[in-house]
Symmetry: D2
Subunit: 342 residues, 4 copies
């Protein structure tokens, strides 16, 4: 059975990544693509790397006949997303990739995004899209909120540890290294090749990064009490990949065993042998997440290093994984591409 | 039906690329992997990006039971290859990725590779593996010789033009830009990130590059008289991709039409609209080849720009395409992955 | 003696490169910096890498007291430049880095830049700034027009050969590879790290690149008859550097000797031994130009490969070299920094 | 006055960087260069980017007449260094760039480097070369031990804070991001462009990195009691630069003020305004170190981010700064080159 798919916001990187992945998906067919400012163009003009595919021409959203769509991926900017999703049919299955439905508390949304949420009913309805931890809810959901890519990486490192109570909840620090595609197709001087290549810097330091809202929500829910982590993102001269170096207090071997057990049957989450540590090169372009654990020379401290591809497992791959569940397909359908190396 | 596949020389880049592509191939299963110096190791130790796959442990070649193998990819260094292939069962289907069987004339082999060929019978038997132009022979072949990656790129730009007689055969120049994975996993100072990134240089200039042997052989055969092109390779700070800027004398529109017609029904070769030119970014990681044509301000001159991924369409993807034909599978099986961008 | 320097357009890459080089210049002191949209800002806010220098605050051009300026570098966009330079004092020494005064024929200017020149008297006055070939005129000049960076590279490879009559004037082809800083600080999608890194493509192919106007003007003047070359630029994933692979017909040894003789006493132009070829890595960040010559296997063909740093020898270093002459300083003053490697 | 300089181990990156810097040094002249395996070669053959300089031919160490040398830089591998330095004249001024004389305690040396020190008298004599903190001793020293590049970066962030007692000594964590030139010209697969570019990974995690020996020695001496920090290095796809993200407990404003005061008169150490954070791009190729401080949302936690160029301020620039002091020159002589951007 083939499911008919629409992608809103197809002219950005996550939109293009959805098309790339669906190109070899056994049971999804793209029937509509939107990009407001580029409506009327062929996808191959916007993204020549997709030239070999037969794809519908880009449209404006209101030109799409959603009665012929089984599931809609929404890859629009936050704030815009609330308005658009509110206007879509109430029975349309939607996987949203924006930040608009990740936080369930309107006050938290306003705190992190600087404006009130205008679709609080949808906010309440939405299921948080971290597949491995919300599988059952996602299977039943109509609206799934894709997670932040940094938030996903950190949660894969930490959720089983918080659930199992094997780390100190008041001393969690994530030093995160992110590739530049996570910033999207934004025209900013510091994202130019001439300025980004060959160097690194921090951004949104000191507790200002919006993905902290997700960490707070999810970790506090898991722990049953407020958990506030420290989070320091760095931008690296690479296009894809996030590596989260996660510092915790706890017994390293216990931590490793806890993660190994938690992910033993997960198709996409691989815990390396104790002491082995991952590289973003080994997951680029794929839906896999690699996690390593090492103890420190200071007793009682451990480091958990998790990495994934921000465009795949961190957003568009995750979105398809969730869509597979919502559509009753095999969860891994279309997502078993190997990483690309070198 | 599943075909049982062996890969000899699995610890290099083309070996790993074969594994990457076969991972999602519908009718190939890897049953043996060899790597002499790394025999006994798991593939995931040599290439952690393949960790998610269930693969046989690396073996020495003589440990492999070839009676259980339907087709063998041979990704060994040239010279070594002759010896190994000579020792394999004479009824085993083989796709070779080395340079050893590309040139059919022993004298030419000796001229370009500096030593006499020791398996001239196999050399005579081998079919040249440029799929689109040797499809019928490949279908019947037992031993197929994969082309040089640069040689493939230049031939896609030029073969239909030479066949159609629409260009001057004495004024053909290819200025080629190649990514570094084409040099293989060689430990050389100038291939280090510190020395290669951020700059470019020429290599094997002035008629010394070995792929000239292939150009000479193929173009002369096509033209029915000796054709010797000028060929200038450059190494670029990128991992994958070859862009061949091909300078010819002829009418640009005729040239474009000739190429468009020649490749009209080819699944992997895409000729862009007249005046549009390709980018290596749009084919990276895929089996596609993009070709563009533009006229120059100097009347009677045209430029044909062809690009492909050296590891995929230029070697391992081509090898699988040929293997598909040899095994009676769909020619495109396992090869329709979209490029990866960004 | 210290000369007082103003830089107009200090917020772009060539402006910043002027500041970088003047920072260790023995007889230049920066007394004014302009950047219209960033007027009022400190240079360290616009370019934090210049934080260690004591520099005047950015101003609007009309706030600068030019009576206290000995020489003014003008690094503004073309077209704007004509207007600004027309408004400056007529006795102010000016080195312009834009395209506005490179072409001496108003018709040629209009042809290549798509609009009539509005300061044809200044256009007539300006001396073409390719130092090694216009040294005497530059010494006497009030207004010097910096050359295009690509145009400089190609001319270093070819001028002595055209003057000496050792190559065929009707078969000259430059296949040029350029780093991305040549495109300036422009906010375009294809200049983003995510889109530029890891690949290459052509641009302005087929006789459309504006630097052809300079090649036509200079080579025709040298030859005493019209000379029109073929020129194909490529954008590479590197920040600095231009490598011009120049294809000519002539005797390779004679060509090498001609270049060696022509540049024997030049401080910045180095001709490598016959057969050795240069790399952009070996001139990055410096005012040096390296040139290599090799013969082809096809008799009568040779390749001249020239490379330089587009921001240094190709623009800001050249500008300072010219200013040194205009101010009676040592020509090499401030310009002997070694390249940076790795 | 010109000082006569020898460089032992001139064929590595730090050797080449010494030559690059000395090229424009006002009072140093290179009179001897050694490289055992490349003895007899011209430096321009080993490093073509130094082609424009007149340099002595590479020699074996025992061919050098040290009676004609005022100061010798030693850029050899550790262990080898002990043997070589022991054989040099006892009155020769030496700045060593290896690890051999950084640790003053033979037991610590053996612990971190896996073998007993064979020149413990020299080990005792050597002065630790972190210029800003050992200025007086260095001025009097005959043998100065250059610091580890990572060790220097971390110490610039932390020393004034430990001295002032404004941070918790038991909760110091450095998450360090290092460019690949720090690994030297080593031929390893993971340093190849094809494998390093486009990704990141950790190395020597969990308390195994040898620079921890320096941190332990220096911080414990400063604090007057044992201090053991946590240290996690990461390798980044960039050639130059180290960024040390340093996590401490203390009042962020106090920390910022302490660093600002400590470095107020330092020519090379720049503390940014509170809340501003540095980028490695802004110090590449220079002897400058930039430091930023930010508070976290969790009260009582602060982050100090320090960055420098590993080849310049982290090794060869530092070495020249120390040599300037030892030779009675201006401390900043030859070291005021601006960084290179872009």
């Amino acid at each position: 059975m083939t499911h008919r798919i629409a992608i809103l916001g197809a002219s950005g990187y996550t939109g293009a990544e959805l098309v790339r992945l669906i190109a070899t998906h056994p049971s999804m067919q793209i029937v509509a693509l939107s990009a407001d400012r580029k409506a009327g163009m062929e996808m191959a003009e916007v993204f020549p790397f997709l030239r070999h595919l037969s794809l519908p021409r880009l449209q404006k959203i209101d030109e799409i006949d959603f009665s012929k769509v089984d599931l809609c991926f929404c890859a629009l900017p936050h704030a815009t997303t609330q308005v658009v999703v509110s206007s879509l049919p109430r029975d349309l299955k939607i996987v949203d990739l924006s930040a608009d439905f990740r936080l369930s508390d309107p006050a938290e949304y306003e705190k992190w995004y600087g404006q009130a949420h205008t679709a609080t009913d949808l906010q309440k309805e939405a299921v948080y899209g971290l597949t491995e931890f919300y599988r059952d809810e996602i299977r039943q959901a109509r609206l799934v909120a894709g997670t932040g890519c940094n938030a996903a990486t950190g949660q894969y490192a930490l959720r089983p540890l918080i659930s199992a109570g094997v780390i100190d909840l008041d001393n969690i620090l994530i030093d995160l290294k992110a590739g530049v595609s996570g910033a999207g197709r934004s025209l900013k001087e510091n994202l130019l090749h001439a300025e980004l290549s060959g160097g690194t810097h921090t951004y949104s330091m000191g507790g200002k990064h919006r993905h902290l809202g997700e960490f707070d929500q999810e970790f506090s829910k898991l722990a049953g009490r407020p958990v506030h982590i420290q989070f320091s993102p760095h931008l690296l001269p690479m296009n894809r990949g996030i590596l989260a170096t996660t510092y915790v207090e706890g017994d390293a071997k216990t931590i490793h065993q806890t993660l190994t057990d938690a992910y033993a049957s997960e198709p996409f989450i691989h815990v390396l042998p104790f002491g082995a540590l991952p590289s973003t090169r080994d997951i680029a372009g794929s839906n896999y997440c690699h996690i390593g654990v090492v103890g420190d020379r200071i007793a009682g401290r451990a480091v958990v290093v998790a990495c994934l591809d921000n465009l795949t497992k961190g957003s568009s791959g995750q979105a398809i994984q969730n869509a597979n569940l919502m559509l009753g397909s095999e969860e891994t359908a279309g997502l078993t591409l190997a990483p690309m190396f070198p």
